[in-house]
């Protein structure tokens, strides 16, 4: 895809709660994309 879709943000946060997070760079990229609009 040419962009980060919104459901990824849910998946990133959910994985954090399971103790199996995605790598930090990926998480930062997803979260910074949300901060542009929220």
């Amino acid at each position: 895809m040419s962009y980060l879709p919104k459901e990824l943000y849910w998946v990133v946060n959910w994985l954090d709660t399971t103790g199996n997070p995605l790598d930090a760079a990926y998480r930062d990229r997803v979260r910074s994309a949300v901060e542009l609009t929220r």
Binding site: M1, S2, Y3, L4, P5, K6, E7, L8, Y9, W10, V11, V12, N13, W14, L15, T18, N20, L22, Y26, R29, V30, A33, V34, L36, T37, R38
Partner: protein, 393 residues
């Protein structure tokens, strides 16, 4: 005097309706002779003033009920407060309908002068050729905001009419007969109205679930057309074919359903509300769940979206349809939509079957396919597998 005029209009329309016409008031309050929908139900309700007064009373009672529900969030709460204040000024069902269509923006109603309505008609007739005759017989509420209406094929239509007609035709195509329906997030009841006017498949039970402020508008619109067939769930089931259910009473609603429908509203709910409804769905007596909501929007452009993933049925639901390639939706909205039908049966999908794992590029439809497979087996390992191809795009 106003009530005498309305009584006369109703009497005249009763006769005109036999030959397919009616008197309809336009925005300048002048009555005009217009084609009438073939399937309009004769009104059996009291006066228009009584309809509005009853709806206000129901709104007041529902808001007095103490119940624990998720918070509306900072976006919706001020909006709901504003709507409540405006409702106090409304005195007529048509005024309520126009406020719902023009100010609340329950839907994306366009001026008929700028909508390619004949194109919408052709697109739906080609997508659902088996229902072309039915489509030609369906029509928009003639009391709708006049600027949004025009006549195509001898009946009133609007861009929103085609949007709702497509939802209905899709359900009929894939699910078949839907005689018992519960709709979540109903707005002013436009989709319900189309179902209830169906010439042969009109539901015997239609429950509309929403916040009380929205149900005010649905009550005004539906009681004006369906009269005493419309009841209000005030803690007990009124036993009417059409029931307005304020969200505070959802847990005590106990009707069987062929299908639960949600269109264009879960996308605007918070994740807490999605959890609330998904939990309710797991316990509701329904075979199917139909959804048409935003999905796969860019994180950098969320617009009205509040949930990050919703609806998100549990693994108790199998997927029967995923469709993000709907010509009519693309013509009417720049946002990506997913139409989905789930059946209450244990999900058995696996990310092992994801097209992306067989070398397909991750387009919107492939992404949504993977997301749904993850939904069916939500474990950390699969979430990593799902996220990996997206990190390299």
């Amino acid at each position: 005097m106003a009530s005498i005029v309305r009584t006369l209009e109703r009497a005249i329309n009763s006769q005109l309706g036999r030959v397919g016409f009616e008197l309809r008031r336009s925005a300048d309050s002048r009555a005009r002779l217009t084609p009438r929908a073939r399937f309009r139900t004769e009104r059996t309700a009291g006066s228009d003033e009584n309809i509005v007064a009853d709806a206000k009373r129901h709104l007041e009672h529902a808001n007095a009920v103490q119940c624990v529900l998720p918070d509306f969030g900072g976006q919706w709460k001020p909006y709901v407060d504003h709507i409540r204040a405006e409702i106090a000024k409304i005195t007529d069902p048509v005024e309520a309908l126009h406020f719902a269509q023009g100010t609340v923006n329950f839907d994306h109603r366009d001026d008929a002068g700028v909508s390619p309505l004949e194109l919408y008609d052709r697109i739906l007739a080609e997508e659902f050729p088996q229902f072309a005759t039915l489509l030609a017989e369906m029509s928009e509420n003639p009391h709708s905001v006049s600027q949004s209406l025009t006549v195509v094929g001898s009946r009133n239509v609007s861009n929103i009419f085609y949007w709702h007609a497509r939802l209905l035709l899709s359900c009929l195509t894939h699910v078949g007969s839907c005689r018992r329906i519960t709709e979540i997030g109903t707005g002013y009841g436009a989709l319900a109205r189309l179902w209830l006017n169906h010439p042969t498949e009109a539901p015997e039970s239609y429950c509309l679930v929403d916040i009380p402020e929205s149900l005010f508008f649905a009550e005004c619109a539906l009681r004006q057309e369906f009269g005493d067939r419309v009841g209000y769930f005030d803690g007990s089931d009124p036993g009417t074919p059409i029931v307005l259910v304020p969200i505070c009473h959802l847990s005590t609603l106990n009707r069987k359903n062929d299908i639960v429908i949600n269109t264009g509203s879960m996308q605007e709910m918070t994740d807490e509300w999605i959890d609330f409804y998904m939990n309710w769905l797991d316990h509701a007596d329904s075979r199917f769940f139909y959804s048409a909501n935003y999905a796969g929007q860019p994180l950098s452009r969320l617009d009205e979206s509040r949930t990050y993933w919703g609806p998100r049925p549990s693994a108790k639901w199998s997927t029967r349809l995923l469709n993000s390639d709907i010509p009519l939706f693309k013509l009417q909205s720049p946002r990506p939509f997913l139409e989905a039908i789930y059946e209450k049966a244990p999900a058995s999908g696996s990310l092992k079957d994801w097209s992306a794992n067989r070398g397909m590029f991750v387009t919107l439809s492939v992404y949504l396919e993977g997301l749904d497979l993850l939904r069916q087996s939500l474990v950390p390992e699969d979430a990593h597998t799902f996220s990996r191809p997206l990190s390299t795009e």
